[in-house]
């Protein structure tokens, strides 16, 4: 059993993974008055994925207005991107989850595709 897990770990590695950190980002004061920001890190280790969508939600999973450089982030395989999310007004009060979701191109024709989404929680 342990050998099998070890073999899977060695052969699998992180060949096809999605990471979005930190788990619990903190809102910080930005350079603009009344605007708060959260710094996130996106790492793409999925070779078939080149775009990730960024979204912000409240506690009940309603979308919250936010600003960032790209809401659809172009990212290469094995690339790490630093993403700053800007929130203002009620967004500062309501935002609870910051999520990144893999975007799959129509040209990918694998019969069963996995779309990955990781959500961090503002505390």
């Amino acid at each position: 059993m342990r050998l099998l897990v070890l073999l899977l770990l060695l052969t699998g590695g992180y060949a096809n993974a999605h990471q979005f950190t930190p788990t619990y980002p903190k809102l910080e004061i930005s350079h603009m008055p009344g605007i708060m920001k959260a710094d996130m890190v996106l790492f793409n280790d999925r070779f078939e994925i080149n775009y990730y969508g960024i979204n912000v939600f409240d506690e009940k999973w309603n979308p919250v207005r936010f600003a960032t450089q790209n809401k659809i982030v172009p990212i290469n395989y094995k690339e790490r991107k630093y993403i700053t999310i800007y929130l203002s007004g009620t967004g500062i009060k309501n935002a609870k989850y910051i999520c990144s979701k893999s975007k799959i191109l129509k040209s990918i024709s694998t019969p069963s595709i996995v779309s990955s989404r990781i959500c961090s929680k503002l505390k």
């Binding site: 899977l8 993974a17 989850y97 019969p111 595709i113 996995v114 990955s116 959500c119």
Partner: protein
């Protein structure tokens, strides 16, 4: 003279400083989603597409790596529609299961006993209360109309694997 004596002492100190270069690392709490095995539909009968190996399919496997226990929950949603397919004139009935299969720690079996299923059985939620790696096995079956043959063509369906911070 005193200054001359200081030179070897300073040189020795510099050597010591040069020999100790720290490498810093920080392991942060995170959840990593890995698409381990892309699935494949088998076509055991004309009206059925299935990822079960008994039906000639390949079961999609999604791996989750959990660095810190009890920080995330995994939510896996199986398809209820084809993302690409030929024109379908009749309805498609979807059934699916999601279970934690291979796991790096036997105590992770609690994921299966405590899982929550909703959305007509298409969404399964696992509380990731143990750290380690776990492989979720997903089966998905699509049946077309009432014994109707699926038209020939390319079929693609989407599984959504999520990691939500608690």
């Amino acid at each position: 003279m005193k200054k001359l004596l200081l030179i070897p002492i300073l040189a020795a100190t510099a050597n010591v400083a040069g020999a100790s270069i720290p490498i810093n690392g920080f392991i942060e709490s995170k959840c990593v989603i890995q698409s381990d095995t892309p699935g494949m539909f088998g076509n055991p009968t004309v009206d059925k597409l299935s990822t079960k190996s008994a039906d000639g399919g390949v079961m999609p496997i999604i791996r989750y790596d959990i660095v810190t226990a009890s920080k995330y929950k995994a939510v896996i949603t199986t398809p209820t529609d084809f993302s690409t397919s030929p024109n379908l004139s009749d309805s498609v009935e979807w059934t699916s299961t999601t279970v934690a299969g291979q796991m790096s720690d036997s105590e992770m079996s609690v994921f299966n006993s405590d899982k929550a299923i909703y959305n007509n059985g298409h969404t399964t939620e696992f509380d990731l209360v143990k750290a380690g790696s776990v492989w979720f096995n997903v089966t998905s079956e699509a049946e077309y109309g009432y014994g109707k043959a699926f038209p020939s063509g390319n079929y693609t369906a989407l599984i959504v694997a999520e990691c939500i911070a608690k």
